[in-house]
Symmetry: C2
DNA sequence: TCAGTTTGCGTAATCGTTTGCGCAAAGTAG
DNA sequence: CTACTTTGCGCAAACGATTACGCAAACTGA
């Protein structure tokens, strides 16, 4: 049975005939407090069922020990993994992470930032929503001197530290691989959005084609929202062309999966007739039939690095440090969907 | 350019020659404040770039407007969806949700609870970790009078409101469906853990067999952690039996997927030789080959209801209301992996 | 033994809001 | 015009912790 009344350090001070300051110091293991007193305090704390009030502490010293993480959606393996990577580091340093989802909705992203600022988080780590084209809310964060680090979905319109993978390289290597497998008419699924990752993947695609002297064919580049259903539609469009592509490189695993479905429905052999590659290394790609070639984004590593970078900024504090851009090397995961051997 | 010095309601009060109380009331739209004053306050607030400090407010009135949600892992579609469902309701009521992952780790679950209590969240919504067998940390939450609602992974050892699906029914219907498809040797993948959902699914399995007068064969019930790899191992064990099963009903989609891989590797026809069903309706189940029959858990709905139930408790406050158990009806999603037609 | 240091703790201010109470001015009723 | 209610706001005490400063007692070294 517990007392309904909240017990504070004053209560435990009173019980011990000492002051709240001493209790506070004892609980924080201050060297100026004798071991005897510390033990007594700890003991009565348990006894009274004392629960520290972080809110009060946070108010007092302006730190909440909470960092806000904003992701478009937490149910994508990639983002979930990055969050995990961030948590690993943050928890070690005794920070809590509060995860917010923007659902790729600009309004919600703005509101979330505002809420995090009101909640006085010690910093924000974010991946920008697909539809975000105005970055004032992020600028506001910076102007308040609150550490901000972006990962994966970043932008150059902000002078901010960011961590991403080399989307260009991942894309280039994938297309190169397809070419080495003998493909010559390689299609690409991309997004019309301003998010740099997709632009980079497109650039890797075109550059690889150019370097291998394969003509760029506008018809083979299909823009969509890159969900599974979009992949289906895009694939159908491709199949209507006079000349079918012999490979499809999708900037998203989901869209690649959609394409795979359509190909299988029409009994088009993968990879013999059409080789297929995705991007992100979603878990399901390893057990599609055939398993899907894709690009691993080093998600956990990215989370770790993002968090570490964040804490660097954090420690630098008001002085601030020059914002830096960390680029991770992606890994091409070759599976049967592109192996024509 | 922004002032580094934090601006408070006192600053805006000073500028207007009124007191902080008035400013506070104006910002909170208190009826006792004139419209003129309110407008002036709002205006200078913008002007000074005032940012409310929720920490101070929370300290003052003991409410943080934050509720903690604990899930084993956020990268499972089911949990991510429930979280989404919870957020929908919570955001409408102006509550923020902080998502914590226990990673099915008991220690971390306990620590997370402690951290949430310290952070003075207004309540906790949780799904219990797989390895949790002691519930004192949840009891502590309750003893502090903090609203607690469990979903999906619940326990009867706690007198607490909970929301779940009828795992028994979902399981029963699945097995019934398999029987109707002509299967007679139906295996079941389950977990050794104390989590009620798996026990219920097992009960549905055995009851369906009994009702259809199919003998229960202990050899056909395989316990594991139900990950994909476990599914592979379990399937291999089954294939070593003198008599092969003609159906596998896995309590997890991932384990079912593992089984599917093994079956395909050995050229065993699905569903002709072995029918296969999973549980949870993970997104990937719709695009496996063949698509996997599974049970949908009404995840968004579950999130909505959980949150609503939570807020009921919340409003009831100290008085408390009788804890209630809400059971949702699951939906059997029949796909090709079990359709022998 | 005495000045100087260390140890151990108390005093009181502070973080930024909220809110019960009070009070004058303005409005309303009779 | 009196008495009462409303309107609009100020005063000051919270909320629960932290911390700069101070001060005695104990300890240290020469």
């Amino acid at each position: 049975m517990s007392t309904k009344t909240k017990v504070t350090i004053h209560d435990i001070a009173e019980k011990l005939n000492i002051t709240a300051s001493t209790v506070s110091r004892a609980l924080n293991d201050n060297p100026r407090i004798s071991d005897a007193t510390k033990k007594a305090v700890l003991k009565t704390a348990k006894q009274l069922n004392y629960q520290p009030n972080n809110i009060a502490a946070a108010l007092r010293h302006g730190k909440s020990y909470i960092i806000g993480v904003i992701v478009p959606t937490a149910d994508r393996f990639f983002f979930a993994s990055v969050v995990r990577g961030i948590e690993e580091i943050a928890n070690n340093l005794n920070y809590k992470v509060i995860i917010c989802q923007s659902y790729d909705n600009y309004e919600k992203e703005v509101q979330t930032i505002e809420a995090l600022l009101n909640a006085r988080v010690d910093g924000i780590i974010a991946s920008i929503g697909k539809n975000t084209e105005n970055f004032d809310h992020f600028k506001k964060v910076q102007s308040k001197g609150i550490p901000l680090v972006l990962f994966d979905r970043t932008t150059d319109e902000l002078e901010v530290s960011q961590v991403m993978i080399d989307d260009y390289l991942g894309s280039y290597k994938t297309v190169e691989h397809l070419i080495q497998q003998g493909c010559r008419r390689i299609a690409h699924f991309t997004s019309p959005k301003k998010v740099s990752v997709f632009k980079e993947r497109l650039r890797g695609y075109t550059d690889a084609l150019r370097d291998y002297e394969i003509p760029y064919d506008e018809q083979l580049v299909i823009k969509s929202d890159l969900q599974l259903e979009d992949g289906r539609e895009s694939m159908k469009k491709l199949l209507k062309l006079k000349q079918m592509p012999d490979a499809v490189f999708s900037a998203s695993d989901y869209a690649a999966m959609g394409a795979m479905q359509v190909l299988k429905e029409r009994d088009i052999q993968i990879p013999e007739q059409v080789a297929l590659a995705g991007f992100s290394n979603e878990p399901f790609t390893s057990f599609t039939d055939p398993p899907l070639t894709t690009v691993d984004q080093r998600s956990i590593k990215m989370g770790n690095i993002t968090a570490e970078l964040f804490f660097e900024h954090f420690k630098a504090g008001e002085k601030g440090i020059v914002s830096q851009k960390t680029v991770l090397k992606p890994e091409l995961i070759v599976r049967k969907s592109t192996l024509r051997k």
